[in-house]
Subunit: 327 residues, 2 copies
């Protein structure tokens, strides 16, 4: 059958009025149980798909949320997306996914595309404050793992500053004195916060240190590690992927981690416990952060509110075998 | 400004006719360069978003593709999605992502939702043949890493049978004689093909063997490994995540891989080279498979064809340190 099945066909098949079918399809008004079953049977039999697109023009929503992240191939973001999609799917929402590679020009284009496609809201983990100007105020936005100054938006993140500071104190207490810190791009909120913790720690504890700026990738860890001339006691990396790259470079030079040098990460993505050596890092509740972002956008839309207060998770220090107590 | 900006406002601002604005916005007919620039400037100034939703009702497409995968938190699928989204984004398409956990009931619901949301096509990596009955013939579907008997669809996959057979011959030639094979769910095409290769190999080479059925997850590797009573020469796992779980279990029992037992995986996800020990596995061109799926659906839509021939990639055996030549 090539002709599009319409609500009229369903009404005829079920032997009810068109408005009754409409009530069932849109769950708009109550319908007697037997009548509802007749309608559902007809829908099943004729393989009818209610036209969501036409309907969303009528009721003003698409039940679609957009998510802009740097890269789904980074397990941190894959887990964020899984958490968000699990929650949203349970509420009948779909998730449109966009990779930006932390590129501002691309991010702007993606916001435009998502707004054009009439998403009901946007989950956003991007580079910085530039979005304030471009976000159409009709599209609700929840920032994930990022906070900007504006109070127009909603935020879910974790306490990057505190956990990084605690990790550094742990390293100090296990007799590390010479530090190298490899940060992420400073425009990214989480990277700026972890760097700020390191700078405060370095001032407070009068350690010997050097800072390199990298990116949150394995490749960046490899390339920054090549620049290290004098081996420190520990290389503190702003995320796990950076640490993987640094350790891979050290291994290729015949250096042993942690015997010759300690290395730490941040995130505790699933592979860090299986890494060789298992990585000392900071565990973020990644899946919960994604799920919470989904819950927040859903609450904002269903209660028709502008934004909700920042939801901040605490992180946990995880000591494994990529660090050791020095003598 | 709260009122919705329309094409009329743009025409007024730019001092051109409505049909000229329409030509620019829809790229439908050529427009003089200076005129086009005036229109684009007005669009920028008034912060105008063309209404894609209304437009897609007129021209009959949404420039949205749905993708159904078991789990985005599995790096294999995250890389597939990245490949597909990179290509589709370059063509102005967006990707709607759905996780099914290989659950048939969920998959059916997701097909229904995507069809209701008027996606132009579906990329699908799911459990089996059940979809033939439910796919609306108006929605073009490309199967990823799966082949079913129907010739109504398009397929991108890799040669699972050949590569698994070659890996097994390599193991035989390095003096492994007692094999355990842990398969994925048999309903999944790739799992069935890898299992078929193992069965043919076992018959041909008269080895000692035992087969367990697991799932493509780290947790499944852990739990199946616990059932192993007599240590074989090698545990051949149907994917890398299974192998990670098996090795983790062996480590917890004080067994050394590969000294006490060899273990192999399949996929070569990014972490397998960093694993402890680095994993012997089969490399699939995962990103290219995702990108090719995006290209195929785009070709099908833009050339208005029903389907295109199967695109099959060859795989590569990667020997690392989780296997050794036995004496």
């Amino acid at each position: 059958m090539n002709r599009q099945i319409t609500i009229k066909d369903i009404a005829k098949e079920a032997g009810v009025s068109i408005s009754t079918v409409s009530r069932v399809v849109n769950s708009s008004l109550p319908v007697k149980k037997e009548t509802k079953e007749k309608v559902l049977k007809a829908i099943e039999k004729l393989n009818y798909y209610p036209d969501s697109l036409a309907r969303s023009l009528r009721v003003g929503y698409t039940k679609t949320i957009g998510i802009i992240i740097p890269n789904i191939a980074n397990p941190f973001f894959a887990t964020i997306v899984r958490g968000a999609e699990d929650f949203l799917r349970s509420k009948g929402f779909s998730l449109m996914i966009c990779n930006s590679d932390n590129n501002i020009v691309e991010e702007k284009k993606l916001f435009k595309t998502l707004i054009e496609k009439k998403v009901d809201g946007i989950l956003y983990s991007g580079i910085g404050d530039h979005v304030e100007s471009l976000i159409n105020k009709n599209v609700k936005t929840v920032f994930i793992d990022r906070i900007i100054k504006s109070n127009k938006f909603s935020y879910v993140c974790s306490n990057n500053y505190n956990a990084m500071y605690k990790l550094l104190e742990y390293l100090y207490n296990s007799n590390h004195r010479k530090f190298i810190f490899i940060s992420g791009q400073k425009e990214i909120f989480s990277a700026a916060e972890r760097l700020r913790a390191f700078q405060d720690f370095a001032n407070e504890y009068k350690i010997d240190f050097k800072i390199y700026e990298g990116e949150y990738t394995h490749e960046s860890g490899l390339s920054v590690a090549k620049k290290i001339k004098n081996l420190p006691d520990v290389v503190v990396c702003a995320n796990d992927l950076l640490a993987y790259g640094v350790i891979e470079h050290f291994k290729s030079k015949g250096l042993k981690v942690p015997k010759d040098v300690s290395v730490t990460g941040y995130d505790d993505i699933a592979f860090s416990k299986m890494f060789s050596p298992p990585l000392t890092t900071v565990k973020q509740p990644i899946y919960e952060m994604g799920k919470t972002a989904g819950e927040m956008i859903f609450t904002i839309l269903s209660k028709k509110i502008d934004h909700i207060p920042v939801k901040q998770f605490e992180n946990e220090i995880i000591i494994r075998e990529s660090t050791r107590r020095r003598n």
